[in-house]
């Protein structure tokens, strides 16, 4: 059962995409100052900024749609773990640079397709965010897929690590295309998209990246699910504990 307490279907829909972006932005932020080269610290920081920027816009919109005084930061920082509806993929921690890039690449490939469709949303705010975000996602994919290829087709060690990262993240990719009643409702209104419609192109994109990277597409058919219903892996709670710490410790203050 979805425990999300936003007041309208539209707000709920907007929040799930905001959640994807804020959680991934937070994961990337953890990595800043830990990249293999200075130039890559700059790149990762850019990713984080773009995702958090998207989240800011979407949370602000959800707040306006709700209209009950809960602002963007309250939405971002003051819900319980079960109320976050992000995909499981974005909350996964990274053990190394290969996992940072595998997670990023799979998500970027999805977001490029998502934002491209949402650019034509009948909801002007969503369309506006999407038109900006599709450019960011396209660049992210160029960068992340470049690293997947470079590491996959680099040394024996990097090939092994990249394959391991792809295998580890793979079971969280199916969830991106599941779709639920809310997705169908939003798609029918022309506001949103049916996630399943993105799958074929995503698979083609990812297949060609994996092939160029000399990596094997995981055969494991098992796919984890639950993020959109607030059922997460254990990793999210700790991420939230850190992200929400200030807002939880010092309630109701201005920063």
């Amino acid at each position: 059962m979805n425990t999300l307490t936003t007041r309208t279907p539209l707000a709920t829909y907007v929040v799930r995409h905001a959640d994807d972006n804020v959680i991934l932005g937070q994961r990337l932020a953890e990595y800043i100052s830990r990249a293999p080269e200075l130039e890559e610290d700059l790149a990762v920081a850019n990713f984080a900024l773009d995702h958090i920027g998207v989240a800011q816009h979407l949370f602000a919109y959800a707040s306006a749609v709700e209209g009950d005084g809960r602002d963007a930061d309250a939405l971002a920082m003051l819900r319980s773990e079960r109320e976050y509806t992000n995909l499981l993929l974005v909350e996964q921690p990274h053990a190394d640079f290969a996992e940072v890039m595998a997670r990023q690449c799979f998500f970027d490939a999805y977001q490029v397709l998502l934002w491209r469709r949402l650019s034509a949303s009948t909801d002007e705010t969503i369309a506006g965010v999407a038109q900006r975000a599709v450019k960011e996602a396209t660049y992210h994919l160029r960068h992340s897929s470049g690293w997947v290829v470079r590491l996959g087709d680099g040394t024996d060690e990097s090939h092994g690590r990249m394959q391991h990262a792809v295998d580890r993240m793979w079971r969280f990719t199916g969830e991106m295309f599941e779709g639920d009643d809310l997705d169908r409702e939003m798609a029918a209104l022309g506001v949103g998209v049916e996630p399943a419609d993105l799958e074929e192109e995503w698979q083609a994109t990812v297949d060609s990246i994996l092939e160029e990277a000399t990596l094997t597409r995981p055969a494991d058919p098992y796919q984890a699910t639950g993020g959109r219903r607030g059922l997460h892996t254990e990793f999210l709670g700790r991420l939230l504990a850190e992200m929400q710490w200030m807002q939880r410790s010092y309630g109701g203050l201005t920063w």
Partner: protein
């Protein structure tokens, strides 16, 4: 000053071996940015990258974060051929004022020329 960390009493500066340029790691690339359409690409600095595509991406993230550019060039630093900047190379041009329009006195009545 803050970035000139002083030597503690009795401490010697580190040895710098300047006789060889040891390039390990990624090669160095020079970065040129076109600030806006209609302007030339201008040198802005350098960066390290394993290949040209990465160099372009790193240049974008490193040198255009505030929308300073609409286009970048990257060139392997080792490929740049530079003049030796000897006095004989450029100074001879300094005494040819007749190449400049201000050398000529033309009466105002002549108008635009």
């Amino acid at each position: 000053m803050s970035y000139d960390v002083p030597l503690a009493p009795g401490e010697q500066p580190e040895d710098l071996d300047l006789s060889t340029v040891a390039e390990h790691g990624f090669p160095l690339w020079e970065v040129f940015v076109r600030a806006k359409r209609g302007l030339s690409h201008t040198h802005v600095g350098s960066l390290h990258a394993p290949d040209a595509e990465t160099a372009i991406q790193n240049a974008r993230d490193g040198y255009t974060r505030r929308a300073e550019g609409v286009s970048v060039w990257v060139v392997r630093s080792a490929e740049i051929v530079a003049s030796d900047d000897a006095e004989s190379l450029f100074e001879p041009f300094e005494d040819k004022p007749y190449r400049h329009p201000t050398f000529y006195d033309i009466p105002d009545e002549v108008g635009q020329l």
